[in-house]
């Protein structure tokens, strides 16, 4: 490998990037759009769930219960419903996501046996929201029950006993406020890097074919490895710039806590960038049309990164076969690393395993990419 030739290829590629601003557009617009659309659009925080109530008793106790729900920030102001027919209609058309039915014998049962039940009809279409809504409803009820107990105990003049037999004191680590943005945004950085990286290099060889400059390239003394390095270097620079933009947006705009070190981030980002640039390069070598190369590169990077990297959908909840497939997705390791660096502040030693996987991945791809380019015209 001669440095002089590598430099020549790199200089030529830089000139091409500067003169054909399309690459620069990709490098700038995609990150900005993705960060904003995903950063704002992708949230799993459930608040103000549309709540309807059918109070069949309309007693003081039942109204007090409904007031508790109204006071919770997780539910919207309760909307009263008249009959069974209206419940069905409101759930059908989506006006209510959860309907609370207070039975007609609510306070009687509460006074007689000390135990009453409230029915919640939850729209299960969006299963995740439904699950969270039911959890919140249970929390409101348990606070209400605790209040009732306190009242009864005090009225009877007894000494204060227990309000709930077992009390869970929970502590959340790493993402203390359970903000979904804090775990989604680092994932988006990976998504942007994957898409942009592969898009940038997907054009580089296909362009030579389309423009007819392939013959010239083949007739030069450049060797495949030199070509690879020379072609990737400028895009590596662009990619690092993108990473800087995305990470700055994540920290300063979206306010995601950053607890790791910049060095860990830089090192792992470089590795991942190498992987995606090589993917784009490999696509570019094997497909001679620029459009087709872009499409294939997009298909290879976007879908797996969105679905199989653990970016939003937890990997350990997938069926074993799909979980096995995720090990082949390079973004899986990078997403893991990013989340750990951002939220846990993990360093190189704690992340040794995913970094090693990423490094092996990069090595294999570099070897494949260097071999893929052949100096022939057919």
């Amino acid at each position: 490998m001669r440095l002089r030739r590598v430099r020549a290829v790199a200089v030529k590629e830089v000139l091409q990037i500067v003169r054909d601003p399309r690459s620069l557009m990709i490098a700038l617009l995609i990150p900005l759009m993705q960060m904003f659309v995903f950063g704002y659009g992708v949230s799993l925080d459930v608040k103000h769930i549309p709540l309807c109530v059918q109070d069949r008793e309309a007693s003081q106790a039942s109204r007090e219960l409904v007031r508790h729900f109204g006071a919770s920030r997780y539910f919207s102001a309760p909307r009263p419903l008249a009959g069974q027919g209206e419940i069905v209609r409101r759930l059908d058309d989506g006006t209510c996501r959860i309907v609370l039915v207070v039975p007609a014998d609510f306070s009687r049962r509460l006074n007689d046996t000390g135990a009453a039940a409230v029915q919640a009809l939850v729209d299960g279409t969006d299963s995740n929201t439904a699950n969270i809504a039911a959890n919140y409803a249970r929390a409101v009820l348990s606070a209400y029950s605790a209040g009732l107990r306190l009242d009864t105990v005090q009225r009877r003049g007894e000494s204060l006993q227990t309000l709930s037999p077992v009390d869970v004191e929970s502590r959340v680590w790493f993402n203390e406020d359970l903000e979904s943005r804090n775990f989604i945004v680092p994932g988006i950085v990976a998504l942007v890097m994957a898409i942009v990286g592969a898009q940038l290099t997907a054009l580089t060889i296909a362009r030579e074919w389309e423009r007819g400059t392939m013959e010239q390239l083949v007739s030069t003394p450049v060797e495949p490895m030199e070509l690879l390095v020379g072609k990737l270097l400028p895009y590596f620079g662009l990619g690092l710039m993108d990473a800087a933009i995305c990470l700055a947006l994540a920290v300063f705009w979206f306010g995601v806590p950053f607890r790791g070190t910049l060095f860990t981030l830089f090192f792992t980002t470089s590795l991942f960038l190498l992987v995606v640039l090589c993917i784009g390069y490999l696509v570019s070598v094997s497909i001679r049309s620029q459009v087709a190369a872009s499409q294939v590169a997009l298909l290879l990077t976007m879908m797996p990164t969105v679905l199989l990297s653990g970016f939003a959908f937890p990997i350990d909840q997938m069926p074993a076969l799909v979980r096995g497939v995720t090990f082949l997705v390079s973004a899986r390791y990078y997403v893991h690393i990013l989340k750990a660096v951002f939220l846990k502040g993990s360093g190189l030693t704690a992340l040794a395993l995913p970094i090693l996987c990423l490094a092996v991945y990069a090595l294999v791809l570099v070897v494949l990419a260097a071999r893929a380019f052949r100096k022939t015209l057919d």
């Binding site: 000390g114 135990a115 227990t162 077992v166």
Partner: protein, 377 residues
């Protein structure tokens, strides 16, 4: 007029049959997306890896541990011996939940006092953490209630009198087991349709322009409107076939129930396809090359997909984005397709969505046709 449209239709279908890459684009991505989304996209929480530190070592603490072990929600991966071990397990992501039963747990319970249990949760994935915490509370709560009742029966003393409590009996309608697949699979049908049809139609016209055959066609007696109908009709048919295929896969392979009427779905799909085709047409009038069309598609389709409520609830977005979602035809189609699949409702409820789709289709078509005629001059 119909003769000419028919001629063009036949030409298009022939071209499509001979174009291997178009067939690839039509068949492979939908099937892969269906399978991957169907299996990978899940927000369910089962088998959460859990570390338990039992410092009490009594019958009661073992019973509480057993309640976690036997729950399908948790998988106890580690019985920690020290607090440090438990912390390390959560720190290293070996366990997502760490549970500490402190010494004196049983003693407090027997006295009828509140007995604390500590839970440490890895909040990195906030959604999983939130749901897992809910389950921890549920299991501990049930255990406590049962214990208190049991104590009351055994001792018969005042302090063991059953605690006043209001419980929740929840019923999940439309999706009783909260299967995420039932939520995602109908959504995939809509988004796959959007992506493939916009791509196909935008590329079809841009290609003619790029190759130069658009001019050839324009010198034939065909009128622009006839050309547009003949050019888009095949994609309309292809879209319907695609919905039929993906719906069948969803029903037979993923076992998602279809409770509504196929006619309502057909009506919704037709309106949605009109929007999508108009969008493809509009993009094709804006782009001179396929490369431009590719980039434009990316920039248009990506936000449409995210803002549709496909996997992330619209209600959780900031307000200005929520307003933007009203312009997204996929938003309405997802409501229609999920409602016909799971809720089984018909026009009496879905007419809002149908009307919105019709309005968007009309607006987009008008702009697209006007621009297309201008681009020919």
């Amino acid at each position: 007029m119909f003769g000419r449209i028919l001629q063009l239709l036949i030409k298009e279908l022939l071209q499509f049959r001979r174009d291997r890459s178009a067939r690839f684009r039509l068949l492979i991505p939908p099937v892969i997306q269906m399978l991957v989304f169907g299996y990978a996209a899940t927000f369910e929480v089962f088998d959460v890896s859990t570390a338990i530190l039992d410092q009490d070592r009594t019958q009661e603490s073992r019973a509480l541990t057993a309640a976690f072990v036997h729950s399908s929600r948790f998988r106890v991966t580690l019985s920690a011996a020290t607090r440090q071990q438990l912390r390390d397990a959560v720190e290293r992501s070996d366990a997502q939940v760490g549970l500490v039963i402190p010494p004196g747990f049983a003693e407090l319970l027997r006295k009828g006092q509140t007995s604390p249990v500590q839970a440490v949760v890895d909040g990195t994935n906030s959604n999983t953490a939130l749901i897992a915490l809910g389950y921890v509370g549920q299991i501990a709560g049930t255990f406590g209630q049962d214990y208190a009742q049991d104590l009351a029966r055994r001792t018969g003393r005042a302090r063991g009198r059953p605690l006043v409590s209001v419980s929740l009996e929840e019923r999940y309608w439309y999706n009783p087991n909260l299967n995420s697949r039932w939520f995602f699979v109908p959504g995939v049908i809509g988004s796959v349709l959007l992506i493939t049809i916009v791509n196909l139609s935008a590329f079809a016209i841009v290609r003619e322009r790029e190759v130069g055959t658009l001019e050839q066609i324009m010198v034939t007696p065909i009128r622009p409107v006839e050309f547009l109908i003949g050019k888009t009709l095949p994609f309309f048919l292809i879209g319907l076939v695609e919905v039929a295929i993906t719906t069948t896969v969803g029903m037979l392979w993923f076992q998602v129930p279809f409770r509504g009427s196929f006619l309502v779905l057909l009506a919704g799909t037709s309106l949605f396809l009109l929007c999508v085709l108009a969008l493809g047409l509009l993009i094709s009038t804006l782009c001179a090359t396929q490369q431009q069309a590719f980039a434009t598609n990316f920039f248009v389709l990506n936000p449409m997909f995210i803002l549709s409520g496909f996997s992330f609830p619209i209600a959780s977005m900031p307000e200005f984005l929520q307003w933007l979602t009203y312009l997204d035809p996929l938003r309405y189609f997802l409501v229609i397709i999920r409602a016909t699949f799971l809720k089984g409702v018909g026009m009496e409820i879905l007419w809002h969505q149908m009307l919105a789709l019709a309005a968007i289709a009309f607006g987009l078509l008008a702009v697209a046709v006007l621009r297309f005629r201008k681009s020919l001059d």
